[in-house]
Amino acid sequence: MAVSETVAATSPTATTPTPRTPRRAPRGRNAAYWLYLLPGAVLFVLVIGAPLVGTVYLSLTKWSGIGDPTFVGFDNYQRLLHDDVFWASFRNTVAMIVAMVVVPTVLGLLLASVLFDVIGRRFKPRTAAALRAAFYLPQVLPVVVAGIVWGWILRPDGAFNSLLDAVGLGALRHDWLGDPGTALPAVMAVMIWVQIGYPVVVFMAALQRVDPELYEAAEVDGANWLHRFRAITLPQIRPETFVVALTCTIAALKVFGPIFALTRGGPENATNVPSYFAYYTFFKKLQVGYGSAISTVLTLIIVVVAAVFIGMQARSERRDRGF
């Protein structure tokens, strides 16, 4: 989740200019470095490569996990096409992308910009840091803990309904997670709460490397906050925006823990997602072949999304260099 933060944190090291010394080492000298790759490569094959191949193979079989798998070709994939639960789970993924990528990125941009540009500069820096910490706090607790607390808050006898009563809106009392009509919006709200701090922190770190003279010059020219936001903030932190959007989209496609803790995909699959659907098919229904097909499709989608993102990023960087 916090992938790009590490990138942001260490990018100064990465961008340290190095004198380009033309260097063509004899091949034999470089070959010795393969030894250093050996432990990592062996582990990689055992823990990632082989299991991935195994899952793709199992997706072509019918298997309960005991005895030998039966090869059935593309039967599982055919079944997926006609499985309403599968389609529902992907529709819910779109909702998760809205809740975990679109809303947090937009709100995060605004918040980071306001915290940095208005509050950080017009009030004490400590004020901005304290507010940032409040927004970031949900990011540090295990997502299952967040899910359990929110599960209780949204229960029929939970804190949210009591709060509605207390402010005179008792008529709106509801079993928020138990009603198929409200479960998905409720889960989305929780995910926004969980995710918002991540873009705020990344974008604030990004703004710190923007030359303050840009803002000062714009201010002297009479640019208001919105002008500065559009003309300086947005273009300057585009690399971080891209990283945030990519990592959050992948997190949204893979989301599992919060769904497990909040609703276990229910009620009536209203909050089911591919990850939970695969888990359930593997370990509750013991349909390993079918679960593998779900996992394989999810993997393919993630690879395609990542490839499209990285391609777009490369193209926009080339365009920037062109000017």
Binding site: E5, T6, A9, T10, P12, T13, T15, T16, T18, P19, N30, A31, A32, Y33, W34, Y36, L37, P39, G40, L43, F44, I48, P51, G54, T55, L111, V114, V118, F123, L131, F135, L137, P138, L141, P142, V143, V144, V145, A146, I148, I153, G158, A159, A166, W193, A205, A217, V220, I250, K254, F256, F260, A261, P274, Y279, S295, T296, L298, T299, I302
Partner: protein, 291 residues
């Protein structure tokens, strides 16, 4: 410099100060309200973690506790054997952090400094591995772990996450090492240092701030992981904090105050890392920028 030399029209700062004097306070109030909303769930948790079940059922979730009740906390602490869960989480996350950093460093040394052939593809492969959904690996891993007797052991989880985290670490460190000053390496080579010596005497000390950041992140990420521990760790002796908390959910033992008490205890370590991690991260940034 040109900015400070430009004579500022007299009317502008006056109008600006007036304008901002009002709006900045509006902005501050709005953002503070937003921050308070973010904290409300934590307030609910704190409020209800110290209530007795009777207190909760008569007063509801919003009332002030009538007594300082700590039995919920103690019930959770003993019912889940929290110290053991804490140890399991710390052992797993700590081992993964250290091993993951070592494997990342070795990989990145070969890729970033050694520039072995096909390194771009290899780095891409590692990046991809980090993005994969864990469902695409879990069943074969679960099956093989059972076959070789690693099922329900912390070692299985340690090995798996060492590889998953180091996939990201390799990607990151390889790009950092790609720009490592060649002059340092050449100077060491002139002194007769071999590759192993260069790695530990030249590259490692220079990379320490970045490695520290990576170490903290690996620790936190592994600590918060859920799916693989949920599948791999089935009994009380091996489970981590998130798995233990989730498997108690729905248990009759978990009345509302105990749920909140459990959540509260479970997030204390996370908050502690948050404090440690902030400092380390700041150090990582400054150390990187100074070079």
């Amino acid at each position: 410099m040109a900015v400070t030399l430009t004579p500022v029209p007299v009317h502008r700062p006056v109008r600006d100060r007036h304008h901002r004097g009002v709006s900045r306070w509006v902005v501050l109030v709005l953002v503070t309200l937003g921050a308070l909303v973010m904290l409300v769930p934590f307030a609910f948790m704190l409020l209800n973690a110290f209530k007795s079940p009777g207190d909760y059922s008569s007063g509801g979730p919003l009332s002030w506790p009538t007594e300082f009740y700590t039995k919920g906390l103690r019930t959770y602490w003993t019912a889940v054997n929290f110290p053991l869960k804490l140890w399991n989480s710390a052992l797993i996350a700590g081992s993964v952090a250290v091993l993951g950093v070592v494997v990342s460093l070795l990989n990145a040394y070969a890729l970033g400094i050694g520039r072995v052939r096909g390194r771009l593809w290899i780095v891409g492969l590692f990046l991809l591995a980090n993005m994969l959904p864990q469902e695409a690996l879990i069943y074969p891993l679960y099956y093989v772990a059972k076959e070789v007797g690693l099922y329900n052991t912390r070692l299985a989880v340690i090995i798996i996450f060492t590889v998953i985290q180091s996939a990201f670490g390799t990607y990151l460190l390889a790009s950092v090492l790609g720009t490592f000053p060649r002059s340092l390496l050449e100077a060491a080579a002139l002194d007769g240092a071999g590759k192993w010596t260069v790695l530990w005497r030249v590259v490692f000390p220079n990379l320490r701030p970045t490695l520290a950041v990576l170490l903290i992140f690996f620790f936190i990420w592994t600590w918060n992981e859920f799916l693989i521990p949920l599948v791999m760790l089935i009994d009380n002796q091996t489970q981590t904090i998130p798995v233990a908390l989730a498997s108690l959910q729905g248990d009759r033992l978990m009345d509302a105050p105990t749920t909140n008490a459990g959540a509260l205890i479970s997030l204390v370590p996370a908050i502690l890392f948050f404090l440690i991690f902030q400092r380390t991260l700041a150090r990582g940034i400054t150390a990187g920028a100074e070079k």
